[in-house]
Symmetry: C2
Subunit: 301 residues, 2 copies
């Protein structure tokens, strides 16, 4: 019987756990008890709900975990490693003993950068590690779109530098809490509107602050439809991100690691600047990264 | 006995009302029942609370009002006039009969612009009108900082064009609802930090999207203090606004109409680009504008 491992990716909003055998997920569970929604004391029970059924089998009691459970507002604050460095390396895991059938949860350290701009990641380093397992000779830039999108320069299996963008969070705040909430809908995607807005923003990046209010005004006085307005807003924000991440995508090979719909919108925006990124599945990268970390750091199998 | 008038500025968050005699406020009241906080049906009572004591005197029963009570989400949707136009002109008021001692509330139309970018204002046109009463020969640009800052090009007593920025709302959303809420405080202002951030943003406006997350990262890994972080955030956002409003301030005379603290921060940012704006008091401009509108539109005195 193959020995199995349990891996967990604890995000800001959502949590996913996998039972993994021979590098492949054979069962999975998820929850919405992300870091921003629970207190430190609630982690043991939230974890138990997700993984307990798997503990009667052959799974290792050394659970490997990445993400925001290691943040200051998470379960236990875990270390950072500093670039340039391998995305995942032996040692420096933060271990939490639990009462759940003697499981120990091992948190993979986050990555930090002091220069040229302060930056941090927690969770993405594991996806980067998983991508590098599949693509050992990759030299280029990984784009991981999400609430806080990361652009990560990878060379010789190391993270050289990276930069984070609040694009996803800004989109969400503007759609739900700002004046624009009366004008935009994020349920329908208009590719032409998105593409045009991203292009406008790339060619005149200094105008972002003016363009946001104009969405509201155009909906009030010229009947701009909510679906077009939402796609235009997304285009402006992704365009602003590409304008700011130019040193990352210009002249590099690019791969996008992300959920399909989000990855496609970044692919569309990158097409404007002539980039044809590879697309990598984010779940596959996470599972491969957790497996790699488990093997590297916990000497298994 | 001088005949008196009642003027009201109904904003998104706050409401102010004045009893005005000979163009000067002799009494005032305020409330937090702004447009975003009440339903259309609650306006009569909210208004009564603010102005009823004044109605036993010599005040005109024709109350003049500007602002968001005329918005689609306000009391009654009022008209827009289209640029280029005088900020306030005879006719086109929207009248609401009330049961409050036979008062009629007259809403000053908002202003809209179709080109080069869709834009709208409600309330600021009255401040612009008041400024023009005090400065009849002004030719230049008025900056009205606030939740949605307006830059207004005024020439020969007309609004030629204008542009709105969500700077104040973005600052508020980021401080209260985003990841940055853990890192920034808006209670203390660090002028040096603000000035440096605004300058950085002006010289590389395409980097805004990257700079926001870096505030959080620097507070996590390098101990950036909350007051400095908040001032830096404000500097980035005001710098982004100046980068986008360049056609408005470059080569024009500038006057800022705003609350003192906010006006000072814009003054500081404009100093970076060599502009020395006039400062005008916003309450004075509003009262002068309401008085002017009352006289012009309602034939009083």
């Amino acid at each position: 019987m193959t020995r199995q491992l349990i891996g967990v990716d604890w995000g800001t909003s959502n949590v996913r756990a996998w039972l993994i055998a021979d590098g492949r997920p054979i069962a999975q569970s998820q929850s919405t008890q992300g870091m921003s929604r629970i207190m430190a004391s609630e982690y043991p029970r939230a974890l138990a709900r997700m993984i307990e059924p798997w503990l009667s089998g052959a799974a290792s009691r050394n659970v490997i975990a990445c993400g925001m459970l290691g943040a200051a507002q998470g379960w236990v604050e875990a270390r950072y490693r500093t670039v340039p460095c391998k995305p995942v390396a032996p040692g420096e895991l933060t271990a939490i003993a639990t009462e759940l059938r003697d499981c120990t949860v091992h948190i993979i350290p986050g990555i930090r950068q002091f220069k040229p701009m302060a930056d941090v990641m927690r969770g993405e380093e594991t996806q980067v590690a998983g991508f590098c397992v599949d693509n050992p000779h990759f030299d280029g830039v990984l784009c991981l779109p999400g609430t806080h999108t990361k652009w990560v320069h990878v060379s010789a299996g190391e993270i050289v530098s990276f930069r984070s963008f609040m694009t996803g969070e800004l989109y969400d705040l503007l759609c739900r809490h700002s004046l624009l909430r009366h004008s935009v809908s994020s349920n329908e995607f208009c590719p032409d509107e998105f593409r045009e807005a991203a292009g406008d923003q790339l060619s005149q990046p200094e105008l972002l602050a003016a363009r946001l209010f104009a969405i509201r005004a155009e909906s009030l006085i010229a009947g701009l439809e909510a679906a077009r307005a939402g796609s235009r807003l997304a285009g402006f924000l992704v365009g602003a991100e590409l304008a700011a991440s130019r040193p990352y995508w210009l002249g590099h090979r690019i791969a996008i690691i992300g959920a399909p719909r989000l990855a496609q919108s970044y692919e569309m925006a990158l097409d404007i600047v002539g980039q044809k990124p590879l697309l990598a599945d984010s779940e596959r990268c996470t599972v491969a990264g957790l497996t790699h970390a488990h093997s590297l750091c916990l000497n298994f199998p």
